[in-house]
């Protein structure tokens, strides 16, 4: 209890706090944002209590501010994530992530016969939300990848 509370209040002076990340997606989010390549001070916690998600993760990055295009890359796996922009220990801005209409180079195409799975071609999808969640239609093979078949391209693959 005290540990958790302490973590929550551990403040950063300037930077970004990414809140409401599903715990099981934490490491993917870190990977998609390429955080391992930064020298900034980064703290994260997972399996924290959340009314919205039941169980959430949080990432705090000192002295780093994201462009919308970069941060929206995590929308595929953490659509409810919230960004708190911190300046001088105060939250100066709150932002939600939005799924971009065109998704480039993050997801893999589900179709094993797709050119993107055989040659060095960056994937590109048209994103659409449906009753069954997010649908990604491949701009090349025209097949649709859904949230069940969604695979995020890892650093080693790209």
């Amino acid at each position: 209890m005290t540990n958790e509370k302490e973590f929550k209040v551990t403040a950063i002076k300037d930077g970004t706090v990414i809140d409401h990340v599903p715990s099981k997606q934490l490491f993917k989010v870190i990977e998609i944002l390429g955080l391992e390549n930064y020298a900034n001070q980064i703290t994260f916690g997972m399996n924290l209590e959340s009314k919205k998600l039941g169980n959430k993760a949080i990432i705090k990055i000192a002295d780093l501010f994201f462009e919308d295009d970069d941060i929206n890359r995590i929308a595929l796996i953490a659509p409810q994530a919230k960004l708190n922009i911190i300046r001088n220990y105060k939250v100066v801005e709150k932002r939600s992530v939005t799924i971009p209409e065109i998704i480039t180079g993050i997801a893999k195409c589900v179709n094993p016969h797709c050119i993107t799975n055989h040659q060095p071609v960056e994937t590109r999808f048209l994103a659409q939300s449906s009753d069954n969640g997010l649908l990604l239609t491949c701009c090349y093979c025209e097949k649709t990848t859904d949230s069940q078949t969604l695979r995020i391209i890892t650093k080693e693959e790209s």
């Binding site: 016969h113 797709c114 050119i115 040659q119 071609v121 491949c138 090349y140 093979c141 025209e142």
Partner: protein, 302 residues
Amino acid sequence: MMKSLISIHDFSKDEMLYVLQRAAEFEKNPSQSLLAGKVVGSIFFEPSTRTRLSFETAANRLGARVVGFSDVKNTSVSKGETLKDTIKMVANYVDLIVLRHPLEGSARYAAEVANVPVVNAGDGANQHPSQTLLDLYSIQKTQGRLDNIHITMVGDLKYGRTVHSLLQALSLFNARFKFIAPPELQMPAEYKTYLRGKGLAFEEHTDLIRNIGDADILYMTRVQQERFQDPIEYEKVKNSYSLKKSMLAKAKPTMKILHPLPRVNEIDAGVDDTPHAYYFEQARNGMFTRMAIIAYLLQGAR
């Protein structure tokens, strides 16, 4: 980017109608040197003699010269060259590329890296838009219209890319569809959802003979053995979706049978001399349609 023809969605309804009108002009006068001095690259990463001859003849009849290859043996591709590098190289030399490649999406990618128009002559199981346009041309020519056609599609409706593209194209013309397929090879749900979204009527049946009478067009497709896990199941299906002359007794006099060819045994040879058989003329129409496509992509609408 240059205008290419990769998927049937790349052409609007007006563009499709324009291409059909040009095709009719080329049928009246099949040798027109509109493209004298132009060079067309015919790049076939897998053999497809029928499609290649049709495109190459179309280019020749327009007065263009043709270069290219008809399979990848003895080319740098067999040494592992990427599609991008091959396309970049060929695009340096030619004014238009006709591409056949086994990977799905390859044609769209080629159009992105080439600085000349690309015509997709088949990218795996994905698209083959010139086939769709020649099907439309054949329907228009035999029925005198494209609107409100009753079409019965038969055979492999699950994997058959030609029926999927034709369905999408005919949906612009208020067609009525009947799908006749064995349970293993039914029309995929996404296409039925697409038709419902457009408010278009369709029926699904497994029985062929009772669904011929109201058709303007009977569109037959090849049922391939490799689609079946059980060879006995294939034998059964093969016979029940094979069209015989005796089954045409109740057909409309104007009904025409189309088939993308080559056929195996979906259409009995006895059907060939009935007035309903149209698949050989359909293939001939392909050449005029491809002339119209190439001329349109290189010269635009006149």
